[in-house]
Symmetry: D2
Subunit: 312 residues, 4 copies
């Protein structure tokens, strides 16, 4: 019998003592200012329990983890037609690489690299205004988490916009290939703000629960997406969720998961658990150093890897 | 309750009627001569049953599926030190691309692209003779499958050797970076012959059963590898098992699997099943067209995707 | 004795009859509307004569030929320090490729690809306003050509700005690497307008005369640049003046030259002649089809290639 | 009036005192053993004089300089059809890069990178035996230089063959694309031996004189190649003669030239001079550090750059 309370507490204690915490993202001041000592973890299980430890109640910038929610919404609006404009393969390169876009004519490799999420933002925009769309995104995430306190951190969004030249480059590059319908400004207005959503581990684990439950949100008991779509989003998280460190993460942890440069990771154990971890120090691939390690230890103690025979 | 007998028979019937069977590999005559109408499927379950249909008893050239067995052996001999010479990330490019080797100084991206498997062959060689090593590989596969009838198809091996200029290029390129200890001739002697192993679906599903059972071979009831290692091999099969079509396969099928240019695929449902399918026609990524489709249908009917909540 | 009057007239007649005129650039309406039948040629010799034929008096959009004048000005203002931010090697790829920028950290390969000319525009801007800088560029070109009628075609500039997403991408990408000091908007304000300068063949050949005369402008009899700098600009035109067709142009024509997407080419015979040709149809590398052919014929009849022993 | 005797002596004295001599090639022992203090220079002028200094009479391994002679022979045998199998553009990458070959389907960028010279060797082979072809190459070079003492250094050839894994990779890679007719072994038999030709500066300057004189060999007073072909070989030397340092060399020196990893450079002043320099230390692009510098100084003092107005 797995005692999750103890396991979560033990892992949090081990992480508090970890000597190598990685490097906090420094490209914008609001992220650079985060204390590298922070660590939080929350596990929502299929029976509705929530186990947490450390700073599980502190909001952090979810950054690219938001790409999971953006993709879920865009699939709901556009269905499989979305895949005409975005691929489904690991990129084999860094999160913000532009090289692949040239050889593949403006079609990003997958929805979880920046270029892919920018196309998703364009799809979400449709003919609406950025403000409306952000309102929808926020409502969606709040509904998933069952918590209206979730907010967009304007300081982060503003800092991203002021320094996000690579993302502006990616967006213009795809625009040149005809893969953005809206203006770059409008699309990035959605993208930068969506990345600036702040959530706690508790909220994030709750919000991701539909991916554990075949698409059903336990808060509302309604289907957010179909079983098939939940499965496929999980698959994309497994092969593409950690940029050029996705293979390593699958090797060590073995769960579909999506990381963000703010140090958060959302990981899914299908049928069993939705997990959020947060620690702001990053490894050399841009994924949370201690977040990855905490998940590796969790999986070792629970047997939750999808590549293991189910634990008895 | 899943009725595997019926499901397997139905899928085989559907595949027999499939209009688009892909293109049979044409680079060597022994493969080009295979009838595209062939289709076989075998499922070995955790309780030791075997369900099969179509040409499940016909031997075919397993080609790159052999990389799973080679990796398993090499990990047993060299342990984690193997990863100093081979990466663990999806390649983002074709199975025989040489580009990545240049920028990454002769370290192949993963053990399932050709370059990676060539380094594995060098590790297996150590200071032995190619003939001895091939004997060991064959014994290993025969033991896994519990069937001494498994053989190396000399005609295929000879044809590979006569035309395998790209593989000779890859091997020499890595040799230039110091990532091969043995001569290119000796290493490729092992590699080409290992790829020429012929197996039936039945034998292959049986041989892969240890990956379903946390490393334990049900034939001998002994551990082939540790639980952790079995999990990790499965993870690599998921992220890297289908070359530049790995993301698509995970998206559609959701099982760790390894394909070969002979049209075979070995897929694992951890704790539940080891599956082999064979149909020689390939899709544009070089993976079996009907083999992939058959697995997609199987997963739809069984709920076996690792990204779904476990079926009740 | 070379009879340039006859040679120029003959070539113009041959070009008028040429069956394959290439494709006129279609990415902006003002260029797409140009009649592909146009052809002009003007040769200014070291003794001050001007030989011309066809539409040598019709203004056309000089586009990338302007990069020669921009580079000349920027070298005058910043000297060799310019080369800390721009390379001097052929790019081996298309004029607007972004791939090389990623691997070389935002340093463009040479000043004649778009990315390089954008950095030159940033250097020209310094702390001035775009309007002032454009005024200086225009004065510089007018002085070189001895003709105040030269103008910037606002329709072209506006169309470039409205559709130049790739250039916006390139600029933002370099900005991300810290290789632009000014805002992207300001830099591209200079760049797009500079590319929209309209000149006749006569004006262009005159304006380029300083590169024939070791840096001395024959109009003013003053040095525009030093002998060394003129030589080096010629060298860059030889190795980098035709994007990924530079080798072919050197092979066929053997003169330092710079082409533009408007169909113009400026070519230099050191000590002997400054040549401008214009024909709007482009070959598959984006260089004037008939302009290149006319220069090839001119060199055959005059022996002017720098790779030939001087004609007696 | 240029006093070449003094200029050559001065440059040799300056080079003897140069503090930074680059790094001697270390990939094979026979090259690694060369004393970095060596420096030689020889200039053959159009009137048949020879000016020399330093170690101009010491034989050194001409390595890639031999590609000029190989190309000349192959053009004589196959004419312009050669260009169906080899490009004419600068490569934008290192001399032994394999990346470009993948995207361009086995067609090397130009005849002066290794891949291109290997295709040239295949063309020279035709249906002959490697030994015969090497005999022809040697006779050709001896005739050009008017000196039967020129030899192939077997120690160098043997060392190249024993360690040339990258070249073996390049050759096999092109073979895979169908761009070699002969076996890799036979082609590289020619290639490695041709690169191992040893010549003195005096012999090399003499051998290159046909490229100064529009194709006419002054020794025999016969045409080695046509005027057009000599011009085009010079053009290729200008744009592609120094690998990924060709732009820099054109910028600094401004002469068509070909370098070799043994530290030799052959440079041509059309109509005026054929120059050989040798100093074994290489710069970071693999070209002779002092050889390049000596040529830069020579051009400064003589005004011989093809990009300068002719000196009076």
């Amino acid at each position: 019998m797995i005692d999750l309370s103890n396991i979560v507490a033990d892992i949090a204690a081990e992480m508090a003592a970890a000597p190598d915490r990685g490097e906090v993202a420094s490209y914008i001041p609001p992220l650079a200012a985060i204390d590298p000592a922070r660590f939080g973890m929350a596990i929502v299980t299929s029976d509705g329990e929530c186990y947490e430890a450390g700073d599980a109640g502190s909001p952090f910038s979810i950054q690219s983890v938001s790409k999971v929610f953006g993709l879920t919404m865009a699939l709901g609006q556009h269905g499989e037609a979305l895949w005409r404009r975005i691929g489904r393969e690991p990129s084999g390169s860094a999160f913000n690489s532009i090289v692949q876009l040239e050889s593949e004519h403006g079609i990003p490799r997958n929805p979880f690299i920046n270029a892919g999420a920018i196309v998703v933002a364009d799809l979400l925009l449709g003919r609406s205004e950025p403000g409306e769309v952000l309102g929808e995104v926020l409502r969606f995430v709040r509904t998933l988490a069952g918590d209206d306190a979730i907010f967009i951190d304007d300081t982060v969004a503003e800092a991203e916009r002021a320094t996000g030249f690579r993302n502006v480059a990616l967006a213009n590059y795809m625009k040149a290939f005809g893969n953005l319908n809206n203006s770059v400004d409008r699309v990035l207005g959605v993208y930068f703000n969506q990345c600036a959503i702040a959530m706690t581990c508790r909220q994030l684990a709750q919000a991701g629960a539909y991916l554990m439950l075949g698409g059903r949100n336990p808060e509302t008991d309604r289907n957010v997406v179909s079983v098939q779509r939940a499965r496929r989003i999980n698959a994309l998280m497994m092969t593409c969720g950690h940029y050029d460190g996705s293979g390593e993460f699958a090797f060590r942890v073995g769960l579909p998961a999506k990381s963000g440069v703010g140090g958060g990771i959302l990981a899914i154990v299908p049928g069993t658990a939705s997990i959020a971890v947060w620690s702001p120090g990053l490894n050399d691939r841009g994924n949370s150093q201690l977040g990855s390690l905490a998940l590796e230890r969790l999986v070792q103690r629970t047997g939750w890897s999808v590549f293991d025979p189910p634990a008895c």
